[in-house]
């Protein structure tokens, strides 16, 4: 603490910064804010894990399915959480006010993320097939893997875009900041939805 006399504003400012820093950077305040979200996210992860452990038949029947699973979940998480955060910004800017199919800001965001899902899924399927072969493992074939990736990402993308838009607009109306709520919820729901859709599309492809 300074011992020599200072101007009032200086003292006020340094006290303000000290107080702000001790609030912003205290361990207990960070843990209190972050832990509940992370605990909820682990519940979502365990639900996704239960679906994965129920897929053992498909995993054996479709060699290469286990290779693309982390990628499908990773892409979904990435695309949906950036969508959620863009929708949050658009709502804060007043560009989106309700669930209106004629609003280009809303529809461009949704179309953009769906097209991204399909392009990235095709890249993932092709990459998954050839890397698996290159490492000397068996693969179900490029067509089957790409088909599974595309169906799983596109269907989970539609579900999550709808939920993200609904949730962002709804939360804002009820006076919550969508940025704080939508991104963590979408990350949790995204794991469950994409694992479920991966399971269903694998079942579909096995049938043919």
């Amino acid at each position: 603490m300074p011992s020599e006399p200072q101007r009032d504003e200086d003292i006020f400012e340094s006290q303000y910064i000290d107080k702000y820093l001790s609030e912003y950077a205290s361990i207990s305040s960070i843990v209190r804010e972050a832990l509940p979200f992370e605990l909820i996210a682990t519940v979502g992860g365990v639900v996704a894990g239960i679906i994965l452990s129920g897929m053992t038949d498909e995993l054996e029947m479709i060699p290469g399915l286990l290779v693309i699973y982390p990628g499908v979940l990773g892409l979904r998480g990435n695309i949906s959480s950036t969508l959620g955060s863009r929708l949050g910004s658009a709502i804060h800017l007043g560009l989106i006010t309700d669930l209106d199919r004629n609003n280009p800001e809303l529809m461009n965001n949704i179309y953009g993320s769906l097209i991204l899902s399909v392009i990235a899924a095709i890249m993932l399927g092709i990459l998954g097939h050839f890397v698996t072969l290159a490492l000397g493992f068996e693969s179900a074939g490029v067509f089957k893997l790409v088909l599974i990736c595309v169906i799983a990402s596109f269907t989970s993308g539609i579900i999550l875009s709808f939920i993200a838009a609904l949730m962002a607009i709804g939360m804002f109306r009820f006076g919550f900041d969508p940025d704080n709520v939508v991104t963590p919820s979408i990350a949790t729901l995204g794991d469950i939805a994409s694992m479920l859709m991966l399971f269903l599309s694998a079942k579909l492809v096995v049938m043919f």
């Binding site: 990628g71 461009n108 990235a120």
Partner: protein
């Protein structure tokens, strides 16, 4: 660019052009994780309880690492960080993220124990807890070191850490998480 009518702020083209490079990295890292899993596929299929454990356990590093990255990045933007070693923001954020990660890993092992015993594929609780704690310890050490290093490096080179740290950290968390689970399984002589 602007024609007579109003062009929207978000365009489909812009969203795709900004999104693709990061997604390509996510794809490549995801395939690497998948190959590690694939090389031990038979072991995993014979132990479904480990399959339940994997998705939630590998997410912890990415989630808490992204939070850490976002906090460091905001601290840089506010000019609160100038020295790596003796900075309370860096210190406390790393400690807090570690607490969140470790508590979550304990909660994961409890949930997986309950779910797997309910499904009749259960493993002893102390083994699930040991796997979770060992793999999360490995995961957090690697991911947090990388997060702090990337955040400082991108700050020094004048790149916005928000654009670089977060997308990379989530993928890195998956990769180190899966490697950590297999290291734990080997240490415990389970595989």
């Amino acid at each position: 660019m602007k024609a007579g009518h109003q062009t929207p702020y978000y365009t489909v083209n812009g969203i795709i052009r900004r999104g693709l490079p990061v997604l390509l990295i996510t794809c490549i890292m995801g395939i690497l994780v998948g190959q590690i899993l694939n090389s031990r596929e038979e072991n995993l299929i014979s132990m479904p309880a480990i399959l339940i454990l994997i998705p939630s356990l590998i997410k912890i590093g990415g989630d808490t690492g992204s939070m850490l990255g976002a906090r460091l990045s905001s601290a840089f933007h506010m000019g609160l960080v100038d020295n790596l070693r003796s900075n309370p923001v860096v210190h406390n954020s790393v400690i807090a993220a570690s607490i969140v990660g470790l508590v979550s890993s304990i909660s994961v092992s409890v949930l997986v124990y309950l779910a797997s015993s309910y499904l009749g594929i259960g493993m002893p609780f102390h083994i699930l807890l040991a796997i979770s704690l060992i793999s999360v310890f490995i995961e957090l050490s690697v991911v947090y070191s990388a997060t702090v290093a990337i955040a400082f490096a991108s700050h020094r080179f004048g790149i916005d850490p928000d654009d670089t740290v977060i997308p990379f950290i989530a993928s890195l968390g998956d990769l180190v998480g899966v490697a950590g689970i297999f290291i734990a399984l080997d240490l415990l002589n389970i595989l």
